[in-house]
């Protein structure tokens, strides 16, 4: 091997091509002034396939083998093999954005399905074909709010429970539009609506809430939050995910103007935070939506066909006046998510969602029985996860559990957070036993 294994040229072909082009050596084709040519050596050795497999396997095996009871915005649901297998087909995996719809009907239809599923789950009639993740979708929602809000305004109200990381992304997106973030206190792990009412005013651009929240709590009165937003001519932006949406109050029913969140809780394994940003909104804001949209149309033969549409919103046409700078997105993850939803079907999805409620409550109850533990901290219904109080310092609990093979979150001096889904359900007994040991 003296070149790239992915370059097909034989020596004879290269010679013939050079001749056709009229140069003796390929370096002649580089119209680069000498001073900026790189004459050094790159310190990168080529390795064979099996060498790299061995290397990466060995590298990644340095990750401790912990059973994770982790959530807080990144969740693990079992992905059926059929999703892995079919999404890995090279036509899906290696195709590009569907600029030539006539040879991309398959992928377009899958994205159309994804949009449609989000429309059903959110109750909002417009969903885009993907953003990067929940945090960037929230950032886009803030910019979107500043475009669609009738009067100017610059503050996004964000509950205390929202992850700092998510807020940081929001702040980065908002910075250019002079949007600032103001945190609103929580009560029992959900939005303190009276505090929210006090914080909201004419400068409020948008009110953000999550359901379930980062703490796993279920918001008891989303209507009230929506009302505060709307009373101040602000958008109500709701964060959620497709599993929760199949069971919890429908966003359109509680006045949500935008739904964001991470849809890859279906379709992807835990992948160090790699996500799929949902973005759904109302019809009247359609022309301000960021990201790709797939629409139905007809072809010359009169058959239904799909195509990217309303592309004049996008950067490759509108440039600095685009509704977003997004180009490469998470289309393939959206395909996987659509497949996963279809594989579960409405019953399977709802069953999973209901289980997330009972698992969280069961595990909280069992932890609560341990001396030195109080769970859940928040007197609310929970979904997948909950915060527990520990008499021992949370940091010590987390470290001791890690030594026993389990990972959980420390979220306060004496607060830990525990997330349960069907993928770690089988380890609950061992987990409780370990927790009992370390909590006292």
């Amino acid at each position: 091997m003296t070149g790239s294994p992915y370059v097909p040229h034989s020596a004879e072909e290269t010679a013939a091509m050079l001749e056709a082009v009229g140069v003796d050596d390929v370096t002649e084709l580089f119209d680069v002034p000498d001073p900026v040519r790189f004459e050094g050596d790159l310190d990168i050795d080529a390795r064979s396939e099996p060498e790299i497999r061995t290397e990466i396997d060995a590298l990644l095996s340095r990750n401790d083998d912990l059973t994770e009871f982790l959530g807080r915005g990144h969740y693990d649901h079992y992905v059926p093999s059929v999703v892995d297998r079919i999404s890995a087909r090279s036509e899906f995996l290696t195709s590009y954005t569907q600029y030539q719809p006539e040879v991309a009907q398959g992928f377009l239809q899958a994205l159309f399905e994804y949009q449609s599923m989000l429309v059903e789950l959110t109750g909002l009639p417009v969903a885009n074909a993907s953003m990067y993740d929940a945090a960037t979708a929230l950032g886009e929602a803030a910019l979107f709010a500043s475009r669609v809000r009738e009067t100017s305004g610059s503050t996004v109200l964000v509950p205390e429970y929202v992850r700092d990381e998510r807020v940081s992304v929001l702040e980065n997106y908002g910075a250019g539009a002079d949007i600032t973030v103001e945190r609103v206190p929580s009560a029992k792990g959900t939005v303190d609506t009276s505090a929210l009412m006090g914080a909201a005013n004419e400068d409020t651009l948008a009110v953000y809430a999550e359901n379930p929240t980062t703490r796993g709590t279920i918001e008891p009165d989303l209507d009230a939050i929506g009302d505060v937003a709307h009373d101040n001519d602000a958008l109500f932006v709701l964060g959620s995910d497709p599993v929760a949406l199949s069971l919890l109050e429908r966003p359109s029913d509680v006045g949500a103007d935008v739904v964001v969140g991470d849809a890859s809780v279906l379709g992807m394994p835990t992948s160090y935070g790699m996500g799929l940003g949902m973005f759904a909104t109302r019809e009247d804001f359609l022309r301000q939506v960021p990201g790709r949209l797939v629409g139905a149309s007809e072809d010359d033969a009169g058959f239904r066909a799909f195509t990217l549409t309303l592309q004049t919103r996008e950067q490759h046409i509108r440039r600095e006046r685009a509704t977003s700078n997004i180009c490469t997105n998470q289309a393939w993850v959206a395909l996987r998510t659509a497949m996963h939803v279809a594989a579960l079907g409405p019953e399977g999805l709802l069953e999973t969602a209901n289980r997330m409620v009972s698992l969280a409550s069961d595990v909280a109850e069992r932890l609560d029985e341990i001396i030195g533990v109080r769970a859940p901290v928040d007197d609310r219904h929970h979904f997948r996860e909950f915060v527990a109080h520990t008499d021992q310092p949370a940091r010590a609990i987390v470290d001791d559990l890690a030594a026993q093979g389990f990972a959980i979150h420390a979220v306060g001096e004496h607060e830990v957070q525990v997330c349960v889904t069907e993928t770690n359900e089988g380890s609950i007994d061992d987990f409780i036993a370990a927790f009992r040991e370390v909590a006292q």
Partner: protein, 458 residues
Amino acid sequence: IYEPLLPEKSQQTVAVEDSPLPDDLTRDSVTLPDLSEPELSRHYVRLSQHTYGVESGPYPLGSCTMKYNPPFAEEVASVDDAFVHPDRSAASTQGTLALLYRLQEYLAEIGGMDAVTLQPPAGAAGEFTGIRIAAAYHEANGDHERTEVVVPDTAHGTNPASAAVAGYDVVEIPSEDGRVDLDALEAAVGDTTAAFMLTNPNTLGVFERDIEAIAEIVHDAGAPLYYDGANLNALLGRVRPGDMGFDIMHYNVHKTFGTPHGGGGPGAGPVGVVSDLVEFLPDPHVRQSDGGFELYTPERSIGKVHGFSGNWLVLIKAYAYIARLGEEGLLDTSAKAVLNANYLASQLDLDVPYEPFHHEFVASADDLDASDLAKRMLDLGVHPPTTKWPDIVDEALMTEPTESESKRTLDQLADAFNTAADEDEEILESAPNRTTARRIDQTSAARNPRLSWQALDD
């Protein structure tokens, strides 16, 4: 006669009952497709068959670098140990951090940069990150008047869009002979300039030969020079953005480093910076610690640009790809990418107004409609180039064959170009005819948006 069952034709409504939650916290029902696994498989297999991918044939979209995506990279990214939660402690994810660190080092080496963040999940996210870094830099200097980002008219659309999202006014300068007009640049930059964004070779495939002068002008104006890495494939191992005077750059791993485009994503858009800007990198950043690796917050970090750590699985693939190629493979890549573009252009009956070009060129369909010509190419079994952009060329056909096409395939591709260019207008306008769908009505799609099956009548 046989057609797989469409999910939309098999929807079921399930009432929300017997939930452990009280009624007032739940919705009433949910309506979703209900397919058995055999039906599901056939549906999606059929959809895949109606999708053109890199393994279907040549895919010469300009600036998209639709090269071969090695399946072995997929395999190494699917090992169980890769699937970790982002909130795991650094101590328990030393494998992940080690791989990220090595990739940072590789990318820095390739770009001639001093440090690289892997957090941005796409190229445009990388641009946004880079511009935010520039903003933080000016802010740290107390330099509050820099409200403009300058771009040439040949810039990819994401450049001005990213600058705008980051809150900057965009100043576009016209090109001269397909390159940055130094006078126009000099006139455009100054105390209000936050950055100048450039891709090199630019979207015409033409190398900005005056890059040293450009860097000097921009630096003299007190602004960093930003490199859009979309066209980095042309330069691998031969020219490094850092050596050209760029201060900030992003890498498109899904273009340059062989990770698949996934029908639009996910990609990854790591950002490299020179030493002065390292302290502004996103939070967290990976560095070596005693006998291992740790995460830290750079001193004046801009904060986060992704909720977690970016597109981790894509990054593993990029690492595997770079490791497979090594220096000699990277050099071969840029050599053959450039040779392929030049060879393909030499076989075309079409005019290519700007040259010398490198990994891509922009041909002109002249008095034909570039879109029509593209549709006809579909019938000939190949994917057409990017059409009607950049505007600087009439009826543009922006073509990037990449290094992974053989001479034989390029000859077939040239044949497709020339055959289509030689057709009667009538044939072009009625194309395509051999594709899954015939010409699709874009206008009615936009005029009457039907964006979900709920919005369909049938």
